[in-house]
């Protein structure tokens, strides 16, 4: 980063202009009785509080520059991601396994991709330097969490719907991997389609968030593009690993040691 112009610093007044848009939307909702204003204002307030809090916490973590503190912050993020990866599933495993399935896949993929990027391409000094490590962990974690969540949702929902077809294959003496192959492949595809869409559309239709941020912060466009390309590769790799791992763990939970389909281990979101 050689040609960085001083980053734009936002004042409270600048943020107030932005906030007025939210207020305007809320007023509109009141006037047209869309009944959105409550949710809108609450979400906006949460967002402001969460981001400011993160800003202050990161400032402290960066200043401390202690590998253990950085690790602790990364673990907290991973725990939150594991929790969110399992939220909003139509069918899910009961409590401990629910978090283990989503969490292990998310953390496994994030750890591999983040460490790989930090020790090879990015190489900050030291490699676990919080200023690079934490935002990178966050980006990978968020994307992998999405992919894992999509893969698991698709896998459990399809397995539930296709019970007769899976059991027909098992009854004919096929292994769990053959019997569940179609469903596993479908789930991984479902998990990766959004990533592939984002890659294809990158730059033409949407400007990726990181690149936008770096351009606004004054980085050279080509340098920002290269940075974004690397991140996209990391995200694709992470999502691929994450959805593979999630489906793998899910297969082992949905089939027992005698290759029986155990849909009784699933809970409906209502039940």
């Amino acid at each position: 980063m050689t040609n960085v112009s001083p980053p734009i610093s936002l004042s409270a007044a600048d943020l107030a202009i932005g906030a007025s848009l939210v207020l305007f939307s809320a007023c509109l909702s009141l006037a047209l009785s869309l009944r959105l204003h409550r949710a809108l204002l609450w979400a906006a307030a949460r967002m402001v509080a969460q981001l400011l809090l993160v800003g202050f916490v990161l400032r402290i973590v960066f200043e401390l520059s202690n590998p253990w503190v950085t690790l602790l912050a990364a673990l907290l993020m991973a725990a939150a991601a594991s929790f969110e990866a399992g939220a909003r599933q139509e069918h899910k495993l009961p409590a401990p396994w629910h978090y283990i399935t989503g969490g292990s896949a998310t953390m496994f993929a994030t750890l591999i991709i983040t460490v790989l990027a930090l020790v090879t391409a990015l190489r900050p000094h030291p490699w676990y330097n919080a200023r690079e490590a934490l935002p990178l962990t966050g980006i990978i974690l968020g994307n992998v969490m999405n992919a894992v969540s999509l893969a698991l949702n698709s896998f459990f929902t399809t397995a539930h719907r296709e019970r007769a077809a899976i059991e027909a294959r098992l009854a004919l003496g096929e292994s769990r991997y053959l019997a569940l192959h179609n469903i596993a492949a479908h789930s991984i595809r479902t998990a990766l389609i959004p990533t592939i869409n984002v890659m294809s559309a990158a730059g033409l239709i949407t400007m990726p968030g990181i690149m936008t941020g770096q351009l606004l912060a004054g980085m050279d466009p080509v340098a920002a593009a290269k940075y974004q390309i690397l991140l996209m590769f990391l995200i694709v790799g992470g999502n691929c690993l994450g959805s593979f791992a999630a489906v793998h763990v899910a297969i082992h939970r949905l089939v027992d040691r005698r290759d029986r389909l155990r849909l009784d281990r699933l809970r409906n979101r209502l039940g």
Partner: protein
């Protein structure tokens, strides 16, 4: 089909103190060429019993095939030899032939059950209930199991198709296959059974023939 062989004094299938969701203990002996028919009221657990024998549902107990315990083999190995055919068959691919292996054997059997050979290349979605049921049976037979566990195999068939199916089953048992049949069709039970059991309240009672 020459692959079957009679094994001296050991039974083809021995079931000892099998327990599970439908109750138990269930015990049953099946020799090569036997056809055991199980009847009983709906919902008593006849299908669940067949599924337990095929190890498709959780169960405890000893089950032997030609003297070899099923615990000594993987579950897929077991199910390739002791094969369960559900009353309503599930299909995992779009076309019938994708489920048939080996396809040549399926082509040979289809006309025996009154099905046109062309049906093997039809989309599964276009099959009638009766066609699905017969193709589901063919799909199992061509994989050459030693024991077939049939769950109401003619519930969707007319009289003529039912008799065709029975003729095929009789031919298979004469060649040494074992058959356990769950049926509500009294005439069919009398035509096929070498032994009959009544299932009630979590146990099997042998019926006098």
């Amino acid at each position: 089909m020459p692959r079957r062989r009679r094994a001296g004094l050991t039974m083809l299938l021995e079931i000892d103190a099998l327990r599970g969701k439908p109750g138990g203990p269930f015990s049953l002996r099946l020799g090569a060429g036997d056809c055991v028919v199980i009847s009983g009221p709906s919902g008593i657990g006849k299908s669940l019993l067949l599924r337990m024998i095929a190890d498709l549902d959780e169960n405890q107990g000893r089950v032997l095939l030609n003297g070899t315990s099923r615990d000594a083999m993987t579950a897929p190995q077991w199910r390739r030899q002791v094969m369960y055919v559900a009353a309503e068959s599930g299909w995992w691919a779009d076309h019938v032939h994708e489920h048939m292996q080996p396809i040549a054997e399926a082509k040979r059997l289809a006309p025996r059950l009154g099905l046109a050979e062309a049906l093997l290349h039809a989309p599964v979605a276009q099959l009638s209930t009766g066609e699905r049921q017969r193709l589901g049976l063919i799909r199992a037979i061509i994989r050459a199991p030693l024991v077939l566990l049939l769950d109401e195999p003619s519930s969707a068939l007319d009289e003529e198709s039912t008799l065709r199916m029975e003729a095929l089953l009789r031919e298979l048992t004469e060649a040494g296959m074992g058959l356990i049949l769950v049926t509500h069709n009294e005439a069919q039970a009398r035509r096929l059974a070498t032994r009959r059991y009544q299932m009630c309240a979590g146990r099997l009672e042998e019926m006098s023939a």
